[in-house]
């Protein structure tokens, strides 16, 4: 049994090592404890996805080439040492781990589930692991063979990151069933760690632990494998939904951190946002679109504030990251241009507008279904009540905030709203199985909502950030972030 699984453990180790290399390259010293490990894993995954996208078309997805390239960022340790400056604000990894301890049992439970269950959900078998098998054998995510229409059910045009991770394990001798299982709860760990790190920088440690637990105990993230026909919800499934939630949430977190920082630290966060954003683009079709949209929304808001304000100053780096993510999306669409696509599932094509107009009749029913799902405690616990509480809080405090604060605080809410709007739009526009939108909602709604759900906690964190600076009535010129760090 062990020999079927050890390659997946090697892959995990390589991803983490590679990610630590990137953290050294970016000089991300402010991240510590579980957050550092989680972000390293995410960076390693994003880097592997990028390598698969760039080298795959040349049939170079082979361990002898990919693994050295994966580990190349480790050179960052030497570069970082040579240019060592003063450390960022000191943080205690042991304290950070201590606050994260209550979350660990839920992650362990997810690993236990994963070890028990075979690769079993339809999407895992037909798409992600199947793609991993052809990537492992043919050394490319887009072999000519997959352009045949009979392979359309395998969605060969899907982005390569998840299958690249599985393919690497297969190339190292892993079993296509048992070898796949243990890798995926790692994405849940990383997601929880990112949320924990973000909240911990803004609110008391008890709140960081509490809010992270709130996500960890949302049943569809941790323990629920199926509900109402939607299979493979939990983190033990070999699916791309929780990985995409990790990348999208991390992208949001690092954009927020970058906006609130300056100088070298801001550069670090923008670099992390770029790499992680590429990971989001290359994880799933939804990420192809939503990662650039995340930056576009932030960029749009930045034009509502003064140029010299922190958000205003962030316009240029935002534009750069937006351009990189959009280019990566277009690049993947170009790479996969010949791959077979199932009828009614080309969401990014011009045909989507036709579908939107014909699907307009069902909008009320789709809206009701989404609201019902958000209110389903068996799926989410009470996760979705927090954006509503935040909305009330924001309305009450609105007049006491200056323009910059309003815009920055509303940003995660807009991301969340845009995410939900995109889910809504997908069901309006779908031509899946001749327009069986209701059946499609049964099998996929909860999984699509998972992508954006962690943002509810970013909003909840706002409620506990005890730094709402009132509108300056004196010559108080302390920046928002300075006030924040002074109190926090």
């Amino acid at each position: 049994m062990f020999d079927a699984r050890w390659p997946s453990l090697v892959v995990l180790a390589v991803l983490i090592l590679s990610g630590y290399g990137w953290l050294a390259c970016f000089r991300a010293r402010a991240l510590s404890g579980p957050e550092r490990l989680g972000v390293a894993f995410a960076c390693g995954g994003a880097w592997l996805g990028l390598l698969a996208a760039v080298l795959g078309p040349f049939e170079l997805f082979i361990p002898a080439i990919i693994i050295p390239l994966q580990l190349a960022p480790l050179a960052g340790f030497f570069v970082g040492r040579a240019t060592a400056e003063e450390p960022d604000e000191p943080s205690s990894p042991s304290r950070a781990w201590l606050g994260f301890l209550p979350v660990i049992p839920l992650v362990v439970l997810s690993f236990w589930f994963a070890a028990q269950r075979p690769v079993w959900s339809i999407d895992a078998q037909r798409r992600w692991v199947l793609k991993a098998q052809w990537m492992a054998d043919e050394h490319t995510p887009v072999p000519e063979r997959m352009a045949e229409v009979e392979w359309a059910h395998a969605h060969p045009s899907y982005p390569p990151l998840i299958s690249a991770i599985c393919a690497q394990a297969l190339q190292l001798g892993s079993d296509r069933d048992e070898g796949m299982r243990l890798m995926f709860p790692s994405f849940l760990f990383a997601l929880l760690a990112v949320i924990y790190g973000y909240v911990r920088r803004r609110a008391p440690p008890l709140i960081a632990t509490g809010l992270t637990l709130l996500l960890a105990t949302a049943p569809c993230f941790s323990v629920l494998d199926a509900k109402k026909g939607s299979y493979g919800l939990g983190a033990d499934s070999v699916l791309a939904d929780i990985p995409l939630a990790l990348f999208l949430t991390s992208l949001s977190v690092f954009v927020l951190e970058a906006i609130g920082s300056s100088g070298r630290i801001a550069k670090t966060y923008w670099s992390l946002a770029t790499l992680i954003g590429i990971g989001a683009v290359l994880t799933k079709n939804e990420g192809l679109l939503f990662a650039p949209v995340t930056l576009a929304i932030a960029l749009g808001l930045a034009f509502f504030v003064k140029r010299e304000s922190p958000l205003g100053r962030a316009r240029r780096p935002m534009l750069v990251v937006f351009a990189i993510l959009t280019s990566t999306s277009l690049f993947w669409k170009w790479i996969a241009r010949n791959m077979a696509v199932r009828a009614g599932e080309e969401y990014l094509s011009a045909g989507v507008f036709e579908e939107l107009s014909s699907g307009a009749r069902r909008t009320a029913r789709i809206f009701d279904r989404i609201v019902d799902s958000l209110a389903d405690q068996g799926l989410w616990g009470v996760l979705w009540i927090w954006p509503l509480i935040w909305l009330v809080w924001f309305a009450i405090r609105f007049l006491k905030m200056d323009a910059e604060q309003r815009v920055r605080r509303v940003l995660p809410f807009l991301w969340l709203s845009a995410g939900l709007a995109m889910v809504f739009g997908a069901y309006v526009a779908t031509g899946w199985k001749q327009g069986s939108w209701s059946k499609l909602m049964n099998v996929s709604l909860a999984r699509l909502l998972i992508h954006h759900a962690p943002l509810a906690l970013i909003l909840a964190c706002d409620l506990f950030t005890t730094d709402v600076k009132e509108k300056p009535t004196t010559s108080d010129e302390t920046s928002y972030l300075d006030a924040e760090s002074a109190i926090g």
Binding site: F113, I122, W134, R176, E178, L206, G381, V382, F464
Partner: protein, 156 residues
Amino acid sequence: MMKRASYSLGLLLLGVSLIINLVNVQEALDVRLPVDRKIGSRVGSIARRAGLYGLSNATMITELEELIQKLRSEGHTRVVFSYSGKHSNVLASTAIHSAWPMQIIEQEMPSLKRNERLLVAASLNASHMISVRPGQGWVATPVETAIPKRKAGAGD
């Protein structure tokens, strides 16, 4: 004072939310744990998967995978999976997952006779058609067995 009150209220809400979530987790575990304990016994992943789907015949998936492995080892590259009825999607997924690099083409052909289905398979350049036959379980029929009948029919 106001800030402290709102902070305390938030903390209270967080505590209540956590309790509600834990109750929901407990309920989900009550459903899931017995199933996972059952499939966690060392009876082989394929049989476990069959149990997971709640199939009455736990050997159904095992036999399907064995048949696919046999076809694959014989060097066939393209096979039609003919199906109709319950669990077809699940079984087809299992077939596709375990067949690579052999290609499985799914064809739902409930209203066609056996020979007609074989002809469809032949038109798809498949070497075999996998289907379930009453009393025999999974059967892989070479598509060429249908062609003489077609020729005879054409001659009539």
